[in-house]
């Protein structure tokens, strides 16, 4: 019962996008490890072609009016009705492009820093890309879970092999947190599928998101399954109090690992809420919403405050991620168009901005081999371009109007205001305070007289190279573009948001 529908030129575009990096990884495995530059170029080529393919998919998403513009479905484990079912709509399309974009940027950014075990590194990275794309494109719960777990292993290796001094502690923490959440999600998936089988007497569609949406009525199952899904996603987002793995993982990961972690991996959680947890279990989601909103606000406040006291630049950005991702869950659980629009925008923008910041921190670290804020000062006098770029991304991060960070946070706050003005007010206040502090931090690092530490580096303290600019430029361009015209994005996923809101309210209407 192979049913490949709606292909571009007869080709299964989604499978091609998803599996191309994996095939590339296999090909790279065949290359001799004695030729690292060949391996680097091959990896870049593979990821860039994937990016181009994902761009080719975009026009199609706008042309089709149905929810999933493209979908591919093949029977996989017929005994349980498990299918290989991929589909893309505006929401997943945007995240897929974000993934493919950041992937080649990361691969390019790894050319310099990664010098040992080059082959294994790029193989891991390409498998990671396949895993992430699979998560965004799967419409079958089982398939989704498998890609979800596949992401874990290469990320584990990337932090564990190419990470910093305390990498092993960080990897173990990362894996255990993620695994506990995801395993409970597996039980929830199986329970959901079984309840569908028990209700319909057939396994057909028991794991299929589209068939399952709106059919799960048992309140106990809803509550338990939503709890398990939410835990898995909350750990990934990460929501307070499940965030403690993130700073460790970020600090220990190599630059590209940090970028992909902040840029894409954290989005898996938000996407999971939007695509799976809430549409499948709307009633429970409504019940849990106050709790999640409360945790989101705590995350926003807590992340900002803890970020302020950090002395390590990378840890600072990691904690600001916790704060920014709090907006995502806050927006989603506002259950109104502004909030959800804002949450998705925030996901994408955070992906662009934080990736840029981590790239910049990595660039600085290449030169100074240090991330202590206290040791810096007057950096701008030596490397003006670097300082300017850093300033740009930092401004974007604190939500300066005109840059893309603003629109997302503004919409989220608007959405939250409609639900609970107190919450929105608290979040706004903290946000402003944090912004002031972050800019003061920028001042300490880049302006004023050159610090003795930076002076001691002498001619090592060079400005950004063309390759580094090439990694940052696309991000900066998109930050400006979406800052001026956020409707470019919101239009693209308007259908998805409408669908989401329909299913999210399904529990109330019934």
């Amino acid at each position: 019962m192979s049913d490949l529908t709606q292909l571009i030129g007869g080709l299964p575009i989604l499978s091609m996008i998803t599996l191309l990096p994996f095939v590339g990884a296999l090909l790279i495995a065949l290359l001799p490890s004695s030729r690292p530059s060949l391996i680097r170029v091959a990896a870049l080529a593979v990821s860039f072609i994937t990016f181009v393919l994902s761009l080719l998919m975009l026009p199609g998403i706008r042309e089709f009016s149905s929810e999933f513009a493209f979908s591919e479905q093949i029977s996989w484990i017929p005994s349980f009705g498990i299918t290989y079912h991929l589909g893309v709509d505006g929401l997943s399309g945007a995240l897929v492009v974000l993934t493919t974009l950041l992937s080649w940027i990361c691969i390019l950014a790894s050319f310099g820093p990664i010098q040992n075990r080059v082959k294994e590194y790029f193989i891991s990275f390409l498998i990671l890309e396949t895993g992430m794309l699979g998560v965004f494109l799967s419409l079958d719960l089982f398939l989704f879970y498998i890609f979800w777990e596949i992401v874990l292993v290469p990320m584990y290796l990337i932090i564990g092999i190419w990470g910093g001094a305390d990498r092993i502690y960080a990897t173990i923490k990362f894996v255990l947190y993620t695994l506990v959440g995801s395993l409970l999600m597996l039980v929830a998936i199986l329970a959901t599928a079984f309840s569908h089988q028990a209700a319909t007497g057939s396994w057909t569609g028991a794991f299929d998101l589209i068939a399952l949406r709106g059919t799960i009525t048992d309140p106990t199952l809803q509550a338990l399954a939503f709890g398990a899904f939410a835990l898995a996603f909350a750990i990934k987002v990460p929501m307070f109090p499940f965030h403690t793995w993130l700073p460790d993982a970020h600090v220990q990961a190599p630059t590209a690992g940090s970028v992909i972690l902040a840029g894409v991996l954290l989005k898996l959680g938000g996407y999971g809420f939007l695509r799976f947890a809430i549409p499948l279990f709307p009633q429970a989601a409504q019940d849990f919403a106050p709790l999640i909103i409360a945790l989101s606000v705590i995350a926003i406040i807590y992340g900002a405050i803890v970020a302020i006291v950090q002395t390590d630049l990378k840890k600072l950005i990691a904690y600001s991620s916790v704060s920014h991702m709090g907006f995502v869950t806050l927006g989603i659980f506002s259950f109104n168009q502004q909030g959800v629009d804002g949450a998705i925008l925030q996901m994408l923008n955070h992906g662009l901005i934080t990736s840029g910041l981590f790239l910049l921190v990595g660039i600085g670290y290449e030169r100074t081999h240090d991330r202590e804020i206290a040791k810096m000062g007057g950096w701008a006098s030596r490397t003006p371009v670097y300082a300017a770029l850093f300033g740009f991304f930092l401004f974007a991060s604190v939500g300066l109007p005109g840059l893309s960070g603003f629109a997302g946070e503004f919409l989220v706050l608007l959405g939250a205001f409609l639900v609970n003005p107190m919450v929105a007010g608290a979040a706004t206040l903290v946000m402003i305070l944090a912004a002031v502090y972050l800019l003061w931090m920028y001042q300490r690092i880049f302006t004023g007289p050159l610090s003795p530490f930076l002076k001691g580096l002498g001619s090592h303290l060079t400005d950004v190279t063309p390759i580094e600019i090439a990694t940052l430029a696309p991000l900066a361009a998109m930050i400006v573009a979406f800052g001026i015209l956020p409707s470019l994005l919101t239009n693209a996923f308007a259908t998805s948001v409408a669908q989401f809101l329909m299913y999210a309210s399904g529990g109330l209407i019934q």
Partner: protein
């Protein structure tokens, strides 16, 4: 009568192969590979016969032997286990100057017993099959007879094994006496007819059988013989012992608990559920603290026992997919655990070597392929997709969720344990890939046969992970009978 002989043909073939192995060694003494070749040929023939018999259920010899898809499934699994063991062992044994003929023959005798356990229709045949399966295990555990560790493990294995056999046997005899029949299905009928009240002797039989079986599958707290027996045996044999007799014991459990004692399910489910919880949790927690890799795998195999017991509980709750889960898990467990032990065999190139975790540091750099295969087996044992181990766990958990009640609580316990297990399995991966090479390096020896064994196990682990559909259908067919 000739029809009966045809039905029990797999049994006869395996037995004759064992004799042929010994004869071939007599004709061409001291050839390392000749007995292995004969044994593998015999296994091939057996597998072919089993495939022919996978059609429908046939009863032979007054109901003592029930052939059909169930036996075919188990027989093929057993043949695969024995074949992989035969591939990974001979060079390891030869390096320590132990012969391969007696080894191959003993393994084949054990397979004979395992097939009989799967096919038995009555308690007597079941018990004899069990003994034929486990007694060769005692011999194999002590196969390195000049190694104090091996004989030490063997004597503990033997004593505890015989002790548990005696307990189990007393239970069997009492059950047979109180139901006036040895036939498994007739026992179930008699117990159903007896109604809800439990006769004192039946209760006693149930207690004895549960204890005996718990010993045989090494469930906590009847597990304490396993680590010593496993650690002492030559490594490839440990692999076999942690897989073959264990799966066989689970088949015995299916036969006794899910056929004969199914009417008493309400009585034994709570006990088995508690044992399963203790087994998973304790096995994992103790494995966590081990620095000797072999001992760690021994404890982790106890934890896997617990996962399999979850399937039994689910089946006891009336969910047939519980048996299916156990059968699927058995195949996955066999492949990944044998693979892990094959890896351990490969890094024990030097006689007398024991492998500490720290000895594996940096192995990924010198032997990337070997380390990669090891990582595959470890990921599968952890239960990370797309590997066989993941589907096995998912299947068992699915059946437990379906069964509801106690079983669904066990499902949660099982997944939390999987996270604990991830910690120590992935720690090995850390040592393989993320640590700098150890000062005293392990000596890697990969003979061609061992390599073949590794590749077969790895291919199976990966294939089942990507396309589990075929095996699921085979499982469903096997339990339909």
């Amino acid at each position: 009568m000739s029809g009966d002989l045809l039905t029990i043909a797999p049994l006869i073939t395996v037995g004759l192969t064992a004799v042929a192995v010994l004869l071939s060694d007599g004709l061409t003494p001291n050839r390392r590979y000749a007995p292995i070749a004969v044994a593998l040929a015999g296994l091939g023939l057996t597998s072919w016969i089993l495939l022919q018999q996978s059609g429908g259920t046939v009863t032979a010899l007054s109901g003592a032997y029930i052939g059909g898809p169930f036996v075919a499934y188990l027989g093929l699994l057993g043949s695969a286990v024995v074949a992989i063991t035969l591939l990974i062992s001979p060079d390891h044994l030869a390096a320590r100057r132990y012969p391969s003929a007696e080894f191959a023959a003993t393994l084949l005798f054990a397979l004979c017993g395992a097939i009989l356990v799967g096919a038995s229709g009555d308690l007597v045949t079941l018990f004899i099959g069990l003994e034929l399966m486990v007694i060769p295990g005692y011999i194999l555990a002590g196969y390195a007879k000049r190694d104090p560790l091996s004989t030490e493990g063997a004597v503990k294995y033997f004593l505890l094994g015989s002790f548990s056999s005696a307990i189990l046997l007393f239970g069997i005899v009492l059950l047979w006496g109180s139901t006036s029949t040895a036939s498994l299905t007739e026992i179930a009928t008699a117990l159903t007819a007896a109604g809800a009240g439990l006769q004192p002797a039946v209760a006693m039989a149930l207690a004895l059988i549960t204890t005996g079986v718990a010993f045989k599958i090494a469930a906590v707290p009847f597990h304490y013989w396993t680590p010593d027996a496993y650690q002492g045996s030559p490594t490839p044999i440990t692999g076999y012992l942690s897989v073959g007799p264990k799966i066989g014991a689970f088949v015995l459990m299916i036969k006794i608990f899910l056929i004969a004692l199914l009417p008493l399910a309400a009585s034994w489910i709570p006990v088995v559920a508690i044992l399963a919880t203790a087994t998973m949790t304790l096995g994992n927690l103790v494995a966590l603290t081990q620095s000797n890799v072999k001992r760690m795998l021994a404890y982790s195999s106890i934890a896997h026992t617990g996962y399999l017991m979850v399937g039994i509980v689910a089946a006891g709750e009336g969910e047939a997919s519980g048996i299916a889960g156990v059968l699927f898990y058995s195949v996955a467990y066999a492949l990944m655990n044998l693979g892990a032990f094959a890896f351990l065999t490969a890094v024990q190139g030097r006689p007398g070597a024991t492998v500490q975790l720290s000895d594996l540091a940096g192995l990924g750099r010198k032997h990337p392929m070997l380390a990669l295969l090891a990582a595959l087996f470890l990921l599968s044992l952890t239960g990370i997709p797309p590997t066989a181990g993941f589907f096995a766990k998912a299947y068992v958990i699915l059946s437990a969720v379906q069964a509801g009640g106690i079983a669904s609580v066990l499902a949660i316990v099982a997944v939390l344990n999987a996270a604990i297990a991830a910690f120590y399995y992935l720690r090995v991966v850390i040592y393989l890939f993320m640590r700098d090479p150890a000062e005293v390096e392990v000596q890697v020896a990969t003979a061609p046969l061992l390599r073949a064994g590794l590749v077969v196990a790895a291919a199976g682990t990966l294939l089942l992970g990507l396309l589990p559909g075929g095996l699921i259908e085979a499982v469903v067919k096997a339990i339909a009978s």
